[in-house]
Amino acid sequence: MIQALEATDLGKRYGKEWALRDCTLKLPIGRVAGLVGPNGAGKTTLLHLAMGLLEPSTGSVQVLGISPRQNSSSILPRIGFVAQDRPLYRTFSVKDMLTLGQKLNPHWDMALAQERLANLSIPLNRTTGKLSGGQQAQVALVMALAKRPEMLILDEPIANLDPLARYEFQQTLMDAVAQDGLTVLFSSHLIADLDRICDYLIILSASRVQVASDIDSLLRTHKRLIGPRERQASIARTHTVLREQSSERQSNLLIRVNGPVLDPAWEVQEASLEDIVLAYLALQTGVTFSVQHKDTQEVPL
């Protein structure tokens, strides 16, 4: 089956430093995936490898079944990309940007671009440099959407926006997903909004993939346990303890379950997505977690 993104042993090295290594993951088509990790974890490197902007040092990457580096002219029209700095020509008016988009892209949908910008009340004759940060981000997103791409790749699109502008950006993004069934891959170091926006999660930390999984499976397979500290070792024998916070007597664990927790001394609680993400981000090495799921669903609207 063709994946939106498939990386196999993908790595990128600059001199002796690995920006990304041993990256193996699959992102199914139709998902909205968050790519999270601290600054310098390799998020941008992974996105640039996916766009064919970088040559892999090891392994391979395919986007929509195509190697982007060798086939850029066939893959680029199918992907909408918004780079970290929201690339707009600052002296151009919004309208000029749209005209440029139309000249550069074979499948440009001018009506869609104009309608979306009108809904956002962004004036077409304003110079892009004079727009607010939120409006610039919206224009960059609309430019990417007007290409009518199958997949959107967004590099930290909302990192510097205020909460309201961030929310409005996410509204535009989710509305586009609902309408067109796009696959979205966006990087972020903000984790608060993930469970509302994403249904798939990729966690990078220390240049490695810690998690690449459907979010439902992640929530199902991770639990918080509260119980007597002296019984912690027996939990660790069966399950994977990701994070431990203990007082003298009590342990508060975040675990990846391998089967049911039978010992009644432990109170089992649901773990929030934020808990899980933080636990993996804190891990420096080791445990990787990847779930292949069968039920990729279409969204008929």
Binding site: V32, Y167, E168, D175, V177, A178, R196, I197, V299
Partner: protein, 137 residues
């Protein structure tokens, strides 16, 4: 088309720790139980919910599917999703009285010096024990 106010306005509490999908399901059930949603009412279209809450379309789809699976709503192709069954039964009539006794209990708790958090904790743990007892019985 339809410019009336929707029968239910969804909201998301980001700090509740409850998944967005479950929040949508619970809000519909809650409204059904309290009689705010009635048979034949139309739920907002998925597109409306998605745009308003900036939420993943799959989440809304999953919540509506869950409600449909439980027989509470039905989706009519090309029209939307409609309430099939109300959860407000004969017990709705006794809600007023129960609310009064709960208010009385809350006043007693406050008079005894319990703060909001202690009250919530006491209720939650009693509620939990009560259910456990029922499960065992």
């Amino acid at each position: 088309m339809d410019t009336e106010k929707p029968a239910i306005e969804f909201y998301l509490d980001q700090r509740s720790g409850v998944s967005p999908y479950m929040q949508l399901v619970q809000q519909v059930k809650h409204a059904l139980r309290l009689g705010y949603l009635k048979e034949g009412d139309q739920l907002p279209t998925m597109r409306m919910v998605v745009s308003k809450l900036a939420i993943n379309p799959n989440t809304v789809f999953k919540a509506y599917r869950e409600l449909e699976y439980e027989g509470l709503v039905e989706s009519r192709p090309g029209q939307g999703t409609f309430v099939r069954k109300t959860l407000a039964d004969a017990s709705l009539a006794s809600h007023g009285e129960l609310r009064q006794s709960l208010i009385k209990w809350l006043q007693e708790a406050e008079a005894a010096g319990l703060g909001e958090e202690s009250i919530a904790a006491l209720f939650a743990s009693t509620f939990q024990q009560f259910h456990k007892r029922e499960e065992i019985a």
